[in-house]
């Protein structure tokens, strides 16, 4: 079961907002409801299943309802209608006491402008969540210190938030959210207030932390690059409704509609597509075959080199046609002419980095998994082809918003 389930969650602002939910069901548009009923639709019947341990990015432009949506996940904003299930329990049916327990133990939040308490030290900020649960003082100090250590701020405990840089302040924000060891972390544009380089660092660090912690993270952003970088799955929002949910690759390569397509067309694909997208099926040969077989294979396929693998498909090295014909004449085996130090990359390496590696190497790039099993091969031509071929057909869309910002 998903850890967090949303079923037709809506938020409408204005007089008699409840009665307008029905109108949405009947197919009234947001504009019509605003005009005739004077009610603003903030979030429009969003249904999502968020799985434990994933980074789920909700992305959209300003005014798309993403911040309202995330605030409904811990009821900082009361939904007008719909169900929100945390571990299958309906958040909407909880009384104040139960809701407080969920906020204290299950769901924490990181804010866009950090929202650190200026009258408390860094340590006191981090221990706030535990302090209000009346945790033992020494214990909560200990936990807060561990949490600070986790985000790399050991030694800054007694500083005031305003003595820290923006990036460090948000680390405190993150440490504060992690201190009570929640299962779900809500991050509302958590890195948007930081400058680009720091933002990049924080993204990397979040991914590193996530490796260790395996929290469920709901991450709000308006930055597509950020969404593609850190999201396991992405929900794209427009006008309060979810337009598409999918992995970054799905969003990029199979946009659900013209809006998504236009949204992602400006993305620098070389930073998003990975080796696994552009690799081809590799031509291989077992190590116990002779040079003659190898040459014959290459001639047949019209290629000039072959990957040599063992029976478990583990990559041993690569041979070239030149070496193979020399070996045939000199009576050597394949192992004698094996080039073992050819470049190997992990399937997650982005294309950007592949360019450099391929340009420096004479033999094609091998894509291998953690056990050194050969998954594919990357040739220079395919790399360029992927970039060119992935360009989306440009369409003229009358809507005005173009850039994420």
């Amino acid at each position: 079961m998903s850890i967090l389930q949303l079923h037709k969650v809506s938020k409408l602002f204005g007089p008699h907002a409840e009665s307008c939910v029905e109108l949405l069901e009947q197919g009234w548009t947001k504009e019509r409801i605003a005009k005739e009923k004077n009610v603003t639709v903030g979030v429009n019947r969003v249904s999502l299943d968020i799985e434990a341990g994933e980074i789920f990015v909700i992305m959209g432009l300003s005014g798309s309802g993403k911040s309202t949506l995330v605030r409904m996940l811990n009821r900082l904003i009361e939904p007008t209608s719909g169900e929100i299930l945390v571990h299958g329990k309906d958040l909407m049916k909880m009384n104040k006491e139960q809701l407080r327990t969920v906020r204290r133990q299950t769901i924490s939040m990181v804010f866009q402008k950090f929202a650190l308490f200026p009258h408390r030290t860094v340590l006191e900020n981090v221990e706030y969540g535990l302090e209000i649960q009346k945790a033992d003082k020494r214990q909560r100090r200990e936990k807060a210190k561990q949490s600070l250590e986790l985000v790399g701020l050991a030694g800054w405990e007694s500083k005031r938030p305003d003595e820290l840089s923006g990036g460090m302040q948000q680390r405190v924000g993150l440490a504060r959210a992690l201190a009570n060891d929640p299962e779900i972390l809500l991050m509302d544009e958590a890195f948007s207030a930081l400058d680009p380089l720091i933002r990049r660092d924080m993204q990397d660090e979040l991914l590193d932390l996530q490796e260790k912690m395996k929290k469920t993270i709901v991450f709000i952003t308006h930055d597509l690059d950020e969404a593609l970088r850190i999201g396991d799955r992405i929900a794209l929002m427009k006008d309060g409704a979810v337009v598409q949910v999918g992995t970054p690759e799905e969003i990029l390569t199979q946009p659900a509609n013209a809006y998504v397509e236009r949204f992602v067309e400006d993305v620098d694909l070389s930073k998003v597509l990975t080796a696994s997208h552009v690799m081809r099926r590799p031509e291989t040969i077992m190590a116990d075959r002779g040079p003659r077989v190898a040459l014959e294979l290459m001639r047949e396929r019209g290629i000039s080199n072959l990957f040599v693998v063992d029976r478990a498909k583990r990559l041993l090295g690569v041979i070239t046609a030149e070496d193979a014909s020399a070996a045939m004449r000199g009576g050597q085996s394949l192992e004698d002419i094996l080039i073992v130090d050819g470049p190997r990359v992990h399937p997650d390496v982005v294309m950007n980095e592949l360019f450099e590696i391929t340009s420096l190497s004479k033999v094609p790039l091998a894509v291998v998994d953690d056990e050194n099993r050969l998954l594919g091969v990357i040739v220079r031509g395919a790399l360029l082809g992927a970039l060119a071929g992935q360009n989306h057909p440009k369409e003229v869309i009358p809507d005005a918003e173009t850039t994420a910002g």
Partner: protein, 279 residues
């Protein structure tokens, strides 16, 4: 057009309250008199010189040597001019009025910050209390509490309480929405949010209100003397009615010294609490 009998109505209401709520007024009266007397007793306990030394040390602790120097010289002058006991009477009245204003005003201010309805009713009431000439309060105060120091304190509280209420409300409302949101998001109860986040952050604004309240209650000492509150105000009043310019100046100067010392003391105290908060 017939005259609206507003005056009669007010008199009827006041008369009814006098008849039926006498026990309540007596209770309040007793309590206030007790507090004022206690303060006076404490202030008069040490010899003036010892009092001045203690004051100087306190001034040095909260402020700097300049505040200490001013306090010592100022109070020596008061002693020298022969207004010591009157000054202590007035100081007791002012501190009692300020204390009551703070104890009553801060909760009302918090209530107004939380409830729009309360703010809508109380804000115009505060306007009314501040703009109505202070003399007018003296009449019902005397009716309910007879003459002496108690109606003086009551009139002072009515006149001086608005800044505390207003600035408490303002201070809490000024706390950024993101911070209260953060407090909520971590599962604070309303009490925890109030005492751990809102009040500490509202403190500088709130204290500016308290400072104003103290100053306003000091400004009431002359008016309070008209209904028999003893103290330095009575000296000013007597000098005015008897056209004694010299005496009037002396007594007025004492009030000024008292005002400056009280103002600087409270301001330094707030600054100090601010510095502790790393501002």
């Amino acid at each position: 057009m017939p005259k609206l009998p507003l005056d009669e109505w007010i008199e009827t209401i006041v008369g009814w309250m006098e008849d039926h709520l006498k026990f309540l007024f007596d209770m309040i009266s007793g309590a206030i008199e007790g507090i004022v007397n206690a303060f006076t007793w404490v202030f008069m306990l040490p010899h003036p010189f010892l009092f001045i030394v203690i004051l100087g040390i306190l001034a040095f602790l909260v402020g700097r040597w300049s505040l200490a120097l001013f306090s010592v010289i100022g109070f020596l002058l008061i002693y020298d001019l022969g207004y010591w006991s009157q000054t202590m009477d007035s100081l007791s009245l002012v501190i009692t009025a300020a204390l009551i204003s703070v104890v009553v005003g801060i909760p009302i201010g918090i209530w107004c910050a939380y409830s729009k309805g309360a703010a809508r009713i109380i804000t115009p009431l505060l306007d009314f209390m501040q703009t109505m000439p202070a003399f007018v309060y003296l009449i019902p105060a005397v009716t309910f509490f007879s003459i002496g120091v108690v109606p003086g304190v009551i009139a002072s509280v009515i006149f001086a309480i608005p800044p505390t209420i207003r600035l408490t409300m303002l201070g809490i409302q000024q706390v950024s929405g993101e911070l209260t949101e953060a407090a909520d998001a971590f599962g604070s109860t309303s009490g925890q949010k109030l005492f751990k986040v809102q009040l500490p952050l509202a403190m500088p604004t709130l204290m500016a209100g308290v400072n104003q309240t103290i100053m306003l209650s000091l400004s009431m000492v002359v008016i309070a003397s008209m209904i028999g509150a003893q103290g330095i105000g009575a000296e000013v009043y007597r000098a005015v009615t008897q056209l004694q310019i010299g005496k009037g100046f002396e007594a007025g100067l004492v009030i000024v010294i008292l005002a400056i010392v009280l103002d600087r003391f409270t301001q330094q105290l707030f600054k100090k609490s601010d510095r502790k908060r790393g501002r």
